[in-house]
Amino acid sequence: METLHTVTEQHAHTTAHGHDGGHHHTETFISKYIFSLDHKTIGKQFLITGMIWAVIGGLFSVLFRIQLGWPDETFPFLERMFGAWYTDGKLNPEAYYSLITMHGTIMVFFVLTASLSGTFANVLIPLQIGARDMASPLMNALSYWFFVISGIIMFASIFLPTGAASAGWTIYPPLSALPQTSPGSGDGMSLWLLAMVLFVVSTLLGGLNYVSTILNMRTKGMSLFKMPLTVWALFFTAIIGILSFPVLVSGVVLLIFDRTLGTSFYLSHIVIGGVPQPYAGGSPILFQHLFWFLGHPEVYIVILPAMGMVSEILAVHARKPIFGYKAMIFSILGITILGFIVWAHHMFMAGINPFLGSVFTFFTLLIAIPSAVKVFNWITTIWKGNLHITPPFIFAVGFVSMFISGGLTGIWLGNSTIDIQLHDTYFVVAHFHIVMGIAAFFGMFAGIYHWFPRMFGRMMNTNLAYIHFAITFVGSYLIFWPMHFQGLAGVPRRYYTNNNFEIFAVFNGMNKVISIAAIIVFFAQFLFLVNFFWSIFKGKKSTQNPWNANTLEWTSPVEGIHGNWHGDIPEVHRWAYDYSRPGNESDFIPQNVPLTDKEKTEADH
């Protein structure tokens, strides 16, 4: 490492045209931190914006969990804090539905799509493939700023007198199409739709950039099959986004027409207050098809980046080559392709043809194969490894745990016969929160703890991280595990209160436990936030390669320069997973270390 460093420094002095940071001209605070074109800064912007959204989305879930845990209590202090959402200390039903809708929208789109992909695609793609920046830094910045504008519009909708959108994050018509149906279907829904269209613009600008950067900007020697699995995962994530989000736009545009021009794409046989409406010939199921054509690939947009990061982190911290590198890539590819042909498993209850249902059941269950390949590969990667128990590692293990627990119930729900019983119950809530919500958050935390030194040049506090992990891990299971039982007992998942059902009174205690766990987990996240912001300024200074990892980002200067490397970009000679190679003195060989003569002869055979 030491020699390598001096070589690159020499290069910086000798090459006249070298991209040695571009710091000769003075950068203002605004050009460096706000309207930056540097991929590392844009990545941090995505991350911090996502944190703000995660706190808002998490707070909303606490509010509706308080309602579900204590449906008969009054909370005057919450009324003082949140005003119009409460009447006589009780959450209004309309506000409850707005909170549910906003929680889903914020978490799925703003946190786990924009922020997760936005942060790690930006920080990792150029650094790991050996590029100075994204293919188009301008489009990259625009992608962030469209996300911000979209977020401002969504945030503003929360403060409307009629409330934010309240038709659920899936915004099914006719509820979302007719403003008369509920207060939240008025201006709140209009702003929701506008915000989402801008959000898709952001995703598209980002995704096009990620794909073309990965395909065109790789450094010498970085062939596709030498790329780290993070890059592979982000590549397929971007492609899924490019192909599925436009269909959401189509669906949303037609919904906007129904709302504003009086068309009948999704509406038929509507009678409001005894008055028949002129809508005829539309189909609400059509919207569900268009929505879930995005909605299902969307869950892979959420989970694939986490999978990629976990693959990388487990290999680094177990000091072992990733098990089944190509199997990992092809299973991501398999998930990507299958992910596009399973969307109607969200619609088994919508009245689709049962034959169609069995076709979608078949494809859905096929996804278990690539998913299981990945799970077994993660387990075999850490099997008998020289485990370095670090915050990123335990969060990555937490991810695998969550993915297995949530994935197994996915096999239940993928069968249309069982899904028809469980679909509108808390069983589904438990399933998707564990498998794509909590799991993706664990992947994200693992990624943040692992690449924090690369982003900010400092280390995060380890003990705080362990406490954060313990509370989040135990708490998450406490929140969602009991919901399986509620779902099996038939507790419906969209109800504001179950007070009217004598039979569900047995769950009153359980609901309180769930809500208390949710509140504790929510506040535990502030340990992470404190750790994060404190470490940016006061954390222990990071060394060049704190985890002794092989990938290229750890050869770029700690202080994070514009252009990523002094002098020439390192050349790549080997894959990213040469850990604990027999006969080698250190237990890792970075990608830019040339092959030894022995390795060359081996490669020839």
Binding site: D133, K220, I242, T263
Partner: protein
Amino acid sequence: MAEVLEIKEHHTAHQLPTPDNGEGGEKSPMNISYGKTMMWYFLLSDAFTFSAFLIAYACLRLGHKWWPNPNDVFNAMPFMGHHKIPMGFVSIMTFILIMSSVFVVRAVQEGHRMNKNGVMYWMFWGILGGAAFLGCQAWEWQHLLAEGMRPFYNVFYEGKDGLTTLWNIHEQGKPMFSPGPVAFGALFFGITGFHGFHVFTGVCLNIWGFFATANGTFEKRGHYEMIEKLGLYWHFVDLVWVFVFLAFYLM
């Protein structure tokens, strides 16, 4: 003064983004520049947008027992009075758009030859074709609107023997509920409108390309790849029209 100049030069030397294909690194699998990679992926994405619209069209149309016969809806022609020429006008529109695509092909070809005037000449005809198509579409829309068609109202209803009949709102009055299937108007205006919006965007981009060529931007750059990218978009819009034409006029 000299110092200022020097700083300026320094700036350009440090300008990011990176050149195509990184710094002498790995080539893209298709061996094309990042700009074209982006355009291709964008077109794939846009193809999904239009596919969604056309599938929505198929879904709603197949859900109806009866649908207006396009021969009886699209049969008007400017300056022809009441003569009915089924599909006449739209055939001309389609021909214009396809010819415009051919002109842009020639512009791209001249770009490969680094012939600035050739690019401008053929771009001009391409732009004119696109604008003419938009004009035709405006006339067709205006004609249908005058007949009483709206996105939420359809005057073409099932007459005797299932024949497509025009409800003359000027003579027969306007019933509260649409005489024909409502979805027909919504789909027609929605999808041809969305396509028209793409054509309009393409014309604007091509006009920009024309002036950038005139300014010598691409000559200085040493290649006319931007014209090629504009061409890709323009052919895509043309190709989409073929499907829209098939869906609304021929089926």
